[in-house]
Each structure stands twice: as structure tokens, then as C-alpha cells.
Symmetry: C2
Subunit: 189 residues, 2 copies
DNA sequence: GCCACAATCCTAGCACCGCTAGACATCCGA
DNA sequence: TCGGATGTCTAGCGGTGCTAGGATTGTGGC
């Protein structure tokens, strides 16, 4: 009865431990080094325990991605509300790039590793919330364009800067100028 | 003497065979299924032969990426020269998205798998050529902005559309509108 | 034509991976 | 106290990237 609840609580706790351990390991040594064996050793359980929580390695990565998206949403909201309508775009753009730079492994999990996350109509709530945050920033700037299409295009532009920046595809010394150009092109309605 | 040359020629031929086999397999079954064992079986040699050509699996992916970049450069050039100054941006943008859609595995190799390609000052020639093609398109539209920074920003915006599009992150029915918005925002000088 | 040598290739194996079956221990309700 | 359910672990399967060492082939000198 009551112990049942304790069990579930402990289970949830352990699940969170797995996710945070995976994230830590990925962030410090890269995703390839996050193996089930090492993860099991890290949380001091045997490997099958991990499979009682997640369907497999991919599902663990997905969980990290989902957690990252939730964080990202909070970061967006904080940046947007703190900046006010005028500077919302600049604040959110900076937040996006900062997040990508500070959490490269999570960023990688979200955008290049997570293949188990549904993205269409039946996307998880946390994912829709993240897009809603972006929508709140971009839609007012859409002018006579479709707000959804404009949000997606603006997001893509921002994402491209983050994605290419990670991996040294872009010149670091031009970072500020790129951001300025992005804001100039997407900022005025 | 002369046979030496034949040997080298055959070696180069086999190397090309490896790259094209890897590309084919990746394009039809995804990169994870491109294993050294399967690759060796496909080209009808034993595994160690592959290691006499490439340092490892990663180097083979890099080779496919490099080949893809070279093709991309040609595609850019063709699109740009065929369209003329006025429509160069639209043509190259369409070419970029088309290439990503038609060769998803190569695209993935270039932008998310290839970690062995130097991208800074000592980048391979073929890579600089690809950027030069983009530069030729974007620089005339930079206005009073730095042409390099503008090219990188435009490229990032375009790349974001391709990267997010692959994987179903963007609504397919808004594809045309997104492209229109991109052209509107980066087209006029 | 023969033979020593060098280059080439393959067989076999290592350590590691994701994942799972089946044995073992532990805790619960009656 | 005891049967059963729950939870955990040990051991192992097939597959991976990669490599050492032996067999085989072709080459150039006599």
C-alpha cells in the first residue's frame, strides 16, 4: 500500500539519476562514451536495471533531449519576459546561442541524436511549449507573412548559427556581426 | 616500374569504390548500418584492406563528406551561373535544399558526422571552394555589412532550414513560404 | 627458368558494444 | 511463517571497430 508509493518515488528518483548521469557523462566526454555499461557502473546498478527504465540507449538520449527542451523553454521565457517586447528577439537569440554553447551535448541530443521524439501533430507537450515560446517572439514580427512559417524560418536561421558554430564551421570573430545581421533581417516587422 | 603505376591506379580505383559503396549503403540503409564488415563484404575484400586505405570508419565517413562537398560546390556553381545575378540566391537556396533532400546521408556526413575535417585556416581546398561559391552569391547582397559575416549568416539560415527540415522538425506544407521569407529577408541588398 | 625477397591480402582474435534470458535474493500480504 | 510477486544480478549472445601474424601472390636479380 504505502510502500508502493515509496517504491514508485524511489523509482522516479533513480530514473532522474540515470538521465542526469547520462547528461553529465555526455557533456564531459561526449555521447559515444555514454555506454550502458559505464552508465550502470556510474549509478551503481547492473545494466538490466537501465532497461527496466528505458527501452534502450536511444530512449535515454531522448530523455536527456526532452529535459533539455524543457530547460530551453524556461530559458526562453525568462529571456523574453525580462527583455520586454522591444528586445525580446535579441534576448531569446542570445539565450539560444548561449544554451547551445554551454550545453553542447544536450544540444546534440535534441537536434541530431534524438530520433525517437515524435515531432508532428502528436509531439510531447514540452515540445509544443518550446515552439510556443519561439512563436511568441517571432509572430509579432511576421508582418504580412504567415506567423507559423515566419517563426519556423526565424528559428531555422537561429538554429543554423548555433549548429554551424558548434564544430567550428563559422569564424568565431564574426559571431557578434552574424547575430547583428540576424537581428537586422528578422527584427523589424 | 610501369606496374607500379598500375598498382597505384588500381589502388585509387579501389579507394573510390570504398567511398561510393559506403555512400550507397548509407543512403539506402542509414549510416549505422555502414559497418566495416558489411563494407568489406560489399567490395569483396577483407576488413584489413579498408584500413590500408583509411585510418578507420570515421575517415571513410569523412571521405564521403568531402566528396559530397565537392558535388555541392558544382551544384552551386551550376545553379548560380544558370540563374544570373538576379536569381542567383533563389537558385542556390533551392539547390541547397534539394541536395539535402536528395542525399540525406551525405548531408548528415558533412554536417553532423564528419569530425575529422579541419575547418579553420587549414581547411581542404574543396571546402574553401564551397564557401567561395556561397560567398559569390551572398556577398553582393551584404550592403554595408561585412561580406564574410553576411555570407556565414545567410548560409546558416539556409542550413537551418535544411537541417530542421530533415527529421520532420518543420511543417512540410510551409516549405515554400519559409523559402520565400528567407529570400525576402536575405535577397535585397 | 629459378629463387629470394617484398608487397599484398586474409584468417583469427581482442576488447568492447547493446541487449536479454534465467537464476537468485528480497520483500510483501495472508 | 510461508508462498508468491517483485526486484536485481550474473552470464552470455551476436555484433562492432580494429589489429597482429601468417599465408599467398607477384617482382626483380641471377
Amino acid at each position: 500500500m504505502v510502500t508502493q508509493q515509496r517504491r514508485e518515488r524511489e523509482r522516479a528518483q533513480r530514473e532522474a539519476l540515470i538521465v542526469s548521469a547520462a547528461r553529465d557523462m555526455a557533456e564531459s566526454d561526449g555521447w559515444p562514451s555514454v555506454t550502458i555499461r559505464r552508465l550502470a557502473e556510474r549509478i551503481e546498478y547492473s545494466q538490466p536495471v537501465l532497461y527496466s527504465h528505458f527501452a534502450g540507449r536511444g530512449a535515454i538520449i531522448d530523455a536527456v533531449a526532452l529535459q533539455g527542451i524543457a530547460e530551453l523553454t524556461e530559458v526562453f521565457k525568462a529571456a523574453r519576459t525580462a527583455a520586454g517586447p522591444g528586445g525580446a528577439l535579441a534576448a531569446v537569440a542570445q539565450a539560444y546561442l548561449d544554451f547551445a554553447a554551454a550545453n553542447p551535448a544536450v544540444f546534440e541530443a535534441i537536434f541530431t541524436l534524438a530520433d525517437g521524439l515524435p515531432f508532428g501533430v502528436d509531439a510531447p507537450e514540452v515540445l509544443k511549449a518550446a515552439f510556443a515560446e519561439l512563436f511568441a517572439v517571432f509572430a509579432p514580427l511576421a508582418g504580412d507573412r504567415d506567423p507559423d512559417a515566419f517563426t519556423e524560418t526565424g528559428w531555422a536561421a537561429l538554429h543554423g548559427l548555433a549548429a554551424l558554430g558548434r564544430g567550428g564551421r563559422l569564424r568565431p570573430d564574426l559571431q557578434e556581426q552574424r547575430l547583428a545581421i540576424f537581428l537586422e533581417r528578422f527584427g523589424k516587422a
